[in-house]
């Protein structure tokens, strides 16, 4: 019953999306102006219906209704409740339903609260949003119905991939999806502006909070995903250049560029066509990512569906939306008038440089991700990994970070390096001192070396925009920028330190043996069997000791799940202020010795702390922007009221 309710809600939502598209498009014509009034309410109801369908799916998963095929395939009555609920989106159909739900809700929220856009642009935007939604509704209803029934009802479900049975999973995909799909709003705004040719600071101010919000979720989602891979896979790494990771990184790169160019448009009315272009590109990258992950072209824990029909369906959607938007852009970009001019040495100039670098990095990641697919089509099986991505990425990241240190100090429009040079003396000295120290130490390879010294200089330089300001009166948006840029330095330091200073030890030990890894002494007390709700495990009892501190127990496990039968390795992490001890239990050898893999990773946690700082900087900026926008709206309303009362 609930499943049918969900399906009905989904069909209704799809129908309303069609109505929203038609009424929005007709509303733009002189004859159809009467229809314009229904667009906003339709968008809101469409979002609510999609949400209803999603809640229905969560419900059938929560009660483990095995007559629903999706539940039977992906869930199990013995699973803890939180993983039953998370299982609703831990599969292809459910995650696509989450996609359209976020998309519908985003459109609904825009329709409900966005009042700054000119009404015509608003109509075009909501029509655009509906146009994109329809394709994904069709994909769900035709090729991946999440509410399909199964007859006869099986006695028990297949269970969920144990790698996904983790609290990280419960929050990581929805966060990432809010970001991915949130960018659809920027896409629709860009389409709306192209249709009505109204691009300017007011448009940018309206678009900015939506871009910021999507970007915050993307940032947090990527940081969380990276930490999940780090502790759940047990390989000790935090980023694998896996195509699925790249699929989340590419929209982030585009969104980061968009975030900065939309600020230029808002403040200075420049970069008009470029901002529109990035709006199109950012969501296109989200869709490319979905195609890569959902088409079954990739084999990984993320690729649920191996079904060529679905792959072709998404590919057609991609061609329609990306191709359509780019064609519209090509036709209309010429009519978007040129914005204000600026000198190359100026805030705008630095932001343009940062945008070009981000685009180049995006291109590099996109090439590297697609290359194996292209090569395979031509008969060669290749994979592309760190030896390509790391140096190629660094080639553009390093200059970008140098400009990132200088850019925020420059004035809008026109400036001289001489004016800001004095303030950069201390960061430059920090960089030099760091470089000297590392050279004396020796043994650090080029990329971590550059990363460490740049991180130190950037950390200082990122705080400089606060100088000569009264801290109490500094706008929140500036605090947000400073915090995000500081976060970049923190994260970079963590990455470089992990790469330069990690100590790894791989040993086979008997119970009672002690081994040394960096400043730690690790003693295996024994290996014991333990049991969880749907798994059993062997658990190593490790007594570890940091220098002269008191010993602490850490317990890595090797887990065996029953449904489906699968083994996973649960690494154990011990966090100290200056790094993490990472322990993995391997198998037992024929001689009775246990394999242990141990790492001491100095300052590795800074990677994710930096990521959170970046996201939190975004939150501060968002609050600041929304507050000042509200103030502006209130002021305008007051003026209007006053005029009205004077007029009487």
């Amino acid at each position: 019953m609930i499943a049918e309710l969900g399906l009905a809600a989904l069909w209704l939502a799809a129908a309303l999306a069609a109505l929203q598209l038609v009424s929005g498009a007709l509303g733009l014509t002189p004859k159809g102006a009467a229809l314009a009034g229904i667009v906003r309410p339709v968008a809101v109801v469409q979002g609510l219906l999609a949400l209803t369908a999603f809640i229905c799916l969560i419900y059938v998963f929560a009660v483990t209704d095995l007559s629903v095929k999706l539940v039977a395939m992906n869930s199990h009555s013995m699973k803890p409740l939180v993983f039953k609920i998370a299982g609703a989106w831990g599969n292809h159909e459910g995650s696509m339903l989450l996609w359209v739900t976020v998309m519908g809700m985003a459109g609904g929220v825009v329709a409900l609260i966005e009042r700054r856009l000119p009404e015509r642009t608003m109509l075009a935007t909501l029509a655009g949003q509906a146009f994109v939604s329809i394709g994904f509704y069709a994909f769900l209803l035709i090729a991946s119905n999440p509410f399909e029934r199964l007859s006869p009802t099986p006695v028990e479900g297949n269970g969920l991939n144990p790698l996904l049975q983790d609290l990280g999973l419960a929050f990581h995909p929805p966060t990432l999806y809010l970001g991915y799909v949130g960018l659809s709003v920027a896409f629709s705004f860009a389409i709306g502006a192209l249709v009505t040719r109204e691009v300017g600071p007011a448009f940018a101010r309206a678009m900015r909070p939506w871009v910021l919000a999507a970007w915050i979720f993307l940032t947090a989602g990527i940081a969380a995903g990276s930490y999940w891979a780090y502790y759940e896979l047990g390989w000790g790494g935090w980023w694998f250049w896996d195509p699925v990771e790249n699929a989340s990184l590419m929209p982030w790169l585009a969104a980061t560029a968009l975030l900065h160019s939309v600020s230029v448009l808002a403040a200075r009315n420049a970069l008009r066509a470029w901002t529109i272009m990035l709006g199109v590109v950012a969501f296109s990258m989200s869709m490319v990512g979905t195609f890569l992950v959902r088409s079954g072209i990739l084999t990984s824990v993320h690729a649920f569906a191996v079904d060529p029909e679905r792959g072709s369906f998404i590919l057609v959607l991609l061609a329609i939306y990306i191709g359509g938007a780019l064609t519209l852009f090509a036709l209309r970009a010429g009519t978007v008038t040129e914005g204000e001019r600026f000198a190359l040495v100026s805030r705008e100039g630095a932001l343009v440089f940062n945008n070009v670098m981000l685009s180049a990095i995006l291109g590099i990641v996109l090439f590297g991700t697609l290359y194996p697919l292209v090569a395979e089509a031509m008969g060669a099986k290749v994979s592309v990994g760190p030896p390509y991505f790391n140096p190629m990425g660094a080639l553009f990241v390093v200059p970008m970070l140098v400009v990132l240190a200088v850019g925020p100090l420059l004035r809008w429009r026109n400036d001289r390096f001489g004016r800001v040079g004095g303030r950069l003396v201390i960061p430059a000295m920090l960089v030099a001192a760091g470089a000297m120290a590392l050279l004396v130490m020796g043994g650090v390879s080029l990329l971590p070396f550059l990363g460490l010294v740049l991180a130190v200089g950037l950390a200082w330089a990122s705080l400089l925009p606060l100088r000569e300001r009264k801290l109490r009166r500094t706008p929140l948006a500036v605090w947000g920028m400073v915090m995000a840029h500081f976060g970049v330095a923190v994260s970079l330091f963590g990455m470089s330190s992990e790469s330069a200073f990690s100590i790894e030890k791989l040993v086979a030990v008997n119970a009672g043996d002690t081994t040394e890894v960096g400043p730690w002494l690790v003693r295996l007390d024994g290996v014991e069997p333990v049991a969880g709700p749907n798994w059993t495990a062997l658990e190593a009892q490790l007594k570890v000791r940091y220098k002269d501190a008191d010993p602490v127990m850490v317990r890595p496990q090797s887990r065996s799940f029953w449904t489906p039968p699968q083994q996973t390795s649960e690494s154990a992490l011990l966090t100290r202020w200056n790094g993490q001890l990472y322990a993995v239990l391997g198998g037992e050898g024929e001689d009775g010795r246990w394999q242990l893999r141990l790492w001491w990773k100095p300052f590795v946690t800074l990677i994710w702390i930096g990521g959170l700082l970046i996201a939190f900087g975004g939150v501060l900026a968002l609050i600041g922007r929304v507050k000042s926008d509200l103030r502006r709206i209130i002021a305008r309303d007051r003026t209007a009221d006053r005029r009205e009362s004077q007029g009487r």
Partner: protein, 150 residues
């Protein structure tokens, strides 16, 4: 900056295009050199890759070839596809479903002495998942492998 104001848009566009096209060309060049190719044993024996080049080797773990060295964490085994045999060494935590007679993809490089040094082993990790390359072995290879391992 002595750029004529009215040309600014063009100049910016040109610079951006040059950087992006440059990045694209660099990427294409780096991909040719850094992409890691997939080999089956008969291919890697016939035409071995350069010793420092990262490649992947896929095949079946030969019955009776697996042994653990004295340190307890290094294993040596032979990967074969019915035509050729390649000795492989690996130090690390062994994937739980890595057993003799099953398929494996080893990531690593070919040593000068003809031994493949693996940094990572991808074994079948549940009954549904097999490394992608293994699915696409030619039927003839697969049949031989099946015949061999029985």
């Amino acid at each position: 900056m002595a750029i004529k104001a009215k040309h600014q848009r063009l100049v910016l566009l040109a610079i951006a295009l040059i950087v992006l096209i440059g990045a694209g060309l660099l990427a294409a060049w780096a991909l040719r050199n850094q992409a890691s190719y997939f080999y089956v044993p008969s291919e890697i024996v016939a035409d071995p890759p350069a010793p420092d080049r990262a490649v992947r080797l896929g095949g079946m773990v030969e019955q009776g070839s697996l042994r653990t060295e004295a340190d307890g964490v290094t294993i040596a085994f032979v990967v074969q596809d019915g035509d050729a045999r390649v000795p492989v060494r690996f130090s690390g935590i062994i994937p739980s479903l890595f057993v003799e007679g099953s398929g494996v993809v080893a990531e690593g490089r070919m040593g000068r002495n003809g031994v493949f040094i693996a940094d990572n082993l991808l074994a079948k990790h549940d009954e549904n998942y097999i490394p992608r390359e293994m699915q696409e072995m030619t039927t003839a290879q697969a049949e031989r492998v099946v015949a061999e391992t029985r």
